[in-house]
Symmetry: C2
Subunit: 321 residues, 2 copies
């Protein structure tokens, strides 16, 4: 059932002990939201704990400084809260424990499956943390610098440092407010966006060297074989955002990224600029998504996969031009 933000605040204020869940492969938004909420709940004298299927990546560990223990052994929550979780499958193995027990979900994904007993979903928010700025305001909790940092981290990571089209005036106002409460925006952005590992750098260099074009530069394609990832010691973090590279080239309307998975199949990401619709091309290969970003899986040798993708992309461009 959908509830209002005021109801969310009331539910949280009435519960004595709350378990906060983040989604698997946790990012800055789900973790920033969890850190901020746990700090708020504890400051209000409540018990609050945290669970996520995966460990907190190094990059985000500082969000949880001083929050030990994150999950006390004795913990039987009155309320289970899912933050930034669009579907129950996104908590992975924790689904066995909590799948049908989630009381409240606060999220910004339009595709939220409303798996919780009560949900507050605002797709106009760029980040779950943007919603939490309002929610925490309604809870009348003090926003400490740690809470401000956590919320700013979620907002800046989910908007690519205010670059993506999901960024609104409200996003900037929320950021301004968090800086006012002590978020060190310069330091957070430096850590989140500026530092590259050497593995990432090598990866970009090799990928760019192998970039292919067709249709007078309107299609560009890169491939990331597993061999390359293993040889360079690149982590999941290092691969983050790689599929944005091909579309960044001037004149490119369709950018395609093929990434080899463990089973030898290829995860294909399409990124398109108007008037091209990425999901139309992905659908030709049994995939889907949005106009700007879509994907599919191909079980073909790399050369064949590339040829098939180039051929269909060229045909599509021929049709729409």
């Amino acid at each position: 059932m959908d509830i209002t933000l005021a109801d969310c605040a009331e539910r949280l204020l009435h519960a004595g002990s709350i378990l906060v869940l983040s989604h698997s492969f946790p990012d800055g938004d789900t973790l920033g939201a969890a850190s901020a909420m746990i700090r708020v709940l504890r400051s209000l004298g409540k018990k609050a704990a945290f669970r996520c299927e995966h460990d907190i990546p190094d990059k985000f560990k500082n969000l949880f400084c001083g929050l030990d223990p994150l999950f006390p052994e004795e913990f039987d929550p009155e309320l289970i809260l899912a933050l930034d979780i669009a579907d129950i499958s996104l908590i992975g193995s924790l689904g066995d424990l909590y799948g049908d027990k989630i009381d409240l979900c606060v999220d910004h994904h339009a595709a939220n499956r409303k798996f919780a007993k009560e949900s507050y979903v605002d797709p106009s928010a760029a980040a779950a943390c943007e919603i939490l700025v309002d929610l925490i305001g309604r809870m009348k909790a003090e926003i400490t610098p740690e809470i401000a940092c956590a919320l700013f981290t979620g907002i800046t990571t989910d908007t690519g440092c205010f670059r993506y089209r999901n960024t609104t005036a409200r996003t900037h106002r929320a950021a301004a407010e968090m800086i006012g409460y002590g978020a060190d925006a310069g330091e957070i952005n430096y850590r989140m966006f500026e530092i590259k590992t050497r593995a990432r750098l090598e990866l970009e260099r090799e990928i760019l060297s192998g970039m292919e074009y067709s249709s007078d530069g309107r299609v560009s394609m890169i491939a990331i074989p597993r061999e390359m990832v293993l040889r360079l010691g690149a982590t999941q973090d290092d691969l983050d955002g790689i599929s944005a590279l091909p579309r960044q080239i001037e004149g490119v309307l369709i950018g395609i990224t093929l990434r080899e998975k463990e089973d030898g199949t290829y995860k294909v990401s399409f990124r398109a600029n108007e008037p091209v619709k990425a999901n139309v091309i992905a659908a030709l290969f049994g995939g889907g998504g949005h106009a700007g970003a879509a994907g599919c899986t191909l079980d073909l040798p790399l050369g064949e996969a590339k040829r098939a993708l180039m051929k269909e992309s060229e045909a599509y461009l021929g049709e729409i031009s």
Copy 2:
């Protein structure tokens, strides 16, 4: 003489005809400010014209849509306004015409030389356009979508899309306000930051391939020979921000970029992370700057220049560690 922002508004409201100047090699901030101010002045029934030593780069041409003629042949201004200009030398050849005639300068550079008859300099502003948001507010002019776009462009380009440490809560509030007045932030950021020319891409690839490290990866260095720039057909725009690359690598404390100039000497840029001070190293080579960013010129063959820079950087790191 320093004057207040209210005085600036009054000077502009009292003048019937105003000439607006941008600095040479114009960027998004000086051009965004000029475009916004000319539109405001014309909307208030005044004559307003624009001069800059250099042509408006393609990337910023749309800021001046519908503003013809930018400089009418018959134009004898009552007030000459310099925007985002820290020193009279930065208007280049226009200095002969206007050098001692500039009535008012509105700028955000702490190093402003106060060359105008009256100046308003606010170094706490991330961009001249951030100051103009307040100034135009005081002039009680209507902020049209075109004006909002121009001011947003200046703010986002001077802050690296809200990433640099000059970004404050006020910067985000100004951005929120401009989006509210119709600035298409997603489109502007896409054009300013996301699109790369093929020449830029090739340039990055070649530069990254040749990146050198020393002192256990705490020093990194790249070189951009003129031959490379000419061969790839890279423009000044393509070279923009290149010197940020070496410092982006994890663990790097000093990032050094050598760029060959037309006369065969090298322009050297230092970018440092704390506790290293870029200006201390630059000073060893007769240069200067800030702790984070500094520069010098070296008249040495490339190999010798590199060795000298590596040697002094290593010695400096030895001293401070």
